[in-house]
């Protein structure tokens, strides 16, 4: 599953290591062209799709929502719940992952259960969460935390278990205590995998937050989307859809930047700069 997250479409066309530093005027032109064509199609009723808003209408709606509407509050709510839930999931996932990765007995007596439970996508638990927690913030938070734990847990376990045996032997030879071994050898060695898990988890947390807001917790961007839907205001809907996408991009970029600052260059070879 890892490759999907690490690739970008521009990057996939093989521009090499400098692509991030070069601006992409052609790409920008294409986006503007598409927006212009879209605008024309709607304005002159060439495309007769009922309820399709023109880009200009979306811009207007965005202005209205941000200035006069509840957009900012909803944005803060979604981002807040996502980051909080992800943070808790990260702590639990890494902690449990270290335990299971380092302790063969614990691994042997639990891994299959985790594999089976993981196969059931967190989204399918939304109805159960609704039944148990009702329409509440708790429901959203529980769902986000539950979903976020899995990628972090699985990737942490994988990272710990793939540490070269020589490194573990070095720790033994130097007679390092267990906390020292974890701090000096296990965590740094597993860090690239852990970071991949954290990135996947963050994306998943955001998606679950939005879904929960759409069906259970009347707050946040998801709720904005549904209320616009119910009012049959497509331009407003588009604003919220794009906002959700934008939040995902920004959060992901933020995490990637943090990871690059914290991780030493050599160890980052597994996480290609996308």
């Amino acid at each position: 599953m890892g490759r999907n997250e690490e690739q970008s479409i521009e990057g996939a066309s093989g521009d090499g290591p400098n692509r991030r530093n070069r601006s992409n005027p052609l790409g920008v032109v294409v986006i503007i062209a598409i927006a212009a064509i879209w605008e024309a199609l709607v304005r002159f009723s060439i495309a007769d799709v009922q309820f399709l808003p023109a880009p200009s209408e979306i811009v207007v709606a965005a202005q209205e929502e941000i200035v006069g509407g509840e957009f900012v509050g909803r944005l803060v709510h979604t981002v807040g719940v996502t980051v909080l839930g992800w943070g808790i999931a990260a702590v639990v996932g890494v902690g449990l992952g270290l335990l299971l990765g380092l302790w063969p007995t614990a691994y042997r007596y639990s891994m299959t259960s985790f594999e089976v439970t993981r196969a059931i996508p967190p989204i399918t638990f939304v109805p159960a969460a609704l039944l148990i927690f009702g329409f509440s913030l708790k429901m959203e938070l529980v769902l986000v935390i539950y979903g976020g734990i899995w990628p972090v847990l699985i990737n942490t376990i994988g990272g710990v278990r793939s540490i070269a045996p020589e490194l573990r032997d070095v720790g033994t030879m130097l007679r390092l205590s267990t906390p020292e071994t974890i701090r000096k050898i296990v965590l740094p060695a597993a860090l690239p995998s852990v970071v991949v898990g954290l990135r996947l988890g963050l994306s998943l947390c955001l998606v679950l937050a939005v879904v929960a807001e759409m069906v259970g917790n009347p707050a946040g961007l998801g709720n904005g989307l549904i209320s616009a839907r119910q009012a049959l205001q497509p331009a407003r809907m588009f604003v919220y859809v794009m906002a959700a996408g934008l939040v995902g991009v920004v959060l992901n970029a933020g995490l990637r930047a943090t990871a690059q600052v914290l991780l030493p260059d050599g160890a980052l070879k597994d996480i290609s700069a996308t």
Binding site: R3, D15, G27, V29, P127, A128, I132
Partner: protein, 252 residues
């Protein structure tokens, strides 16, 4: 070695078995939150709703299948175009990145507004969600193509069509298959999600209905069915992948 692995797999089930057993012991079949596992299966058939199950499963599988198929065709076509030409890749890159960032769940209300509540809408949403892994893997598969192969085709003076079908596609096949494998669970999850959110048809719709009518045992039972579907679908894709791999034994 296999014997030991199997034993490890079984012992690993301990927490799950324990959880279900404890749940069974202290669970009350009438609990609004945690009905005991033994009450799940019968709940599928209460109120004469039993005969809705199989059609729902078929509906889900149909949407999933069509969505995955559409995503594959679209993903391969787009992936090939992007992979072959750097200019095309850079041109459409930002547009596609933008589209990829939109969460499928958020797209659903828009889709129902524009397309209505029917099978087409479901399939469109699934395609929009599942196309990306296939697209990305295909285009990078093309990127990593052995240039000697293309030179060989040119020196034999193969036509563009023949080059595409006889050389390009077979070499990119493992990457495509990988992309499809990654896309498969996504397609299934999004199918269930769309069904849950829109109640058009399928297992997801049944879960939504059971939840809104406060039938927790039925909800859990349907969740289990969704999980089993997921396992079966993934196993199928993996065996297809293995079949494709085996035909290429000895390849690079």
């Amino acid at each position: 070695m296999t014997q030991r692995l199997r034993l490890d797999s079984l012992t690993g089930l301990l927490p799950l078995v324990l959880l279900l057993s404890v749940w069974q012991l202290i669970g009350d079949p009438d609990s609004p939150f945690f009905p005991a596992p033994s009450s799940w299966w019968p709940a599928l058939f209460t109120l004469g709703q039993g005969d809705k199950i199989i059609p729902a499963i078929l509906d889900t599988v149909r949407t999933f299948g069509l969505g995955l198929l559409g995503a594959s065709i679209l993903g391969v076509a787009l992936g090939l175009s992007i992979g072959v030409s750097r200019a095309v890749g850079r041109a459409v890159g930002p547009t596609f990145e933008f589209a990829r960032a939109l969460p499928p769940a958020a797209i659903v209300p828009v889709a129902t507004l524009l397309l209505g509540f029917d099978e087409t809408m479901k399939v469109v949403v699934v395609v929009l969600a599942a196309v990306w892994p296939i697209l990305l893997n295909t285009s990078s598969g093309v990127q990593e193509l052995n240039p000697v192969l293309l030179d060989t085709a040119r020196s034999i003076r193969l036509s563009r069509m023949r080059t595409l079908f006889a050389v390009l596609l077979p070499s990119v096949m493992p990457a495509i298959v990988l992309g499809v494998r990654v896309a498969t669970p996504i397609a299934l999850v999004i199918t269930l999600l769309v069904e849950y959110l829109t109640a058009v048809n399928g297992v997801g719709a049944l879960v939504g209905e059971a939840q809104r009518t406060f039938q927790p045992a039925r909800v859990y039972a349907l969740i289990v069915i969704a999980g089993l579907l997921s396992l079966v679908v993934n196993a199928c894709v993996r065996s297809v992948e293995n079949a494709v791999q085996r035909r290429r034994v000895g390849d690079s």
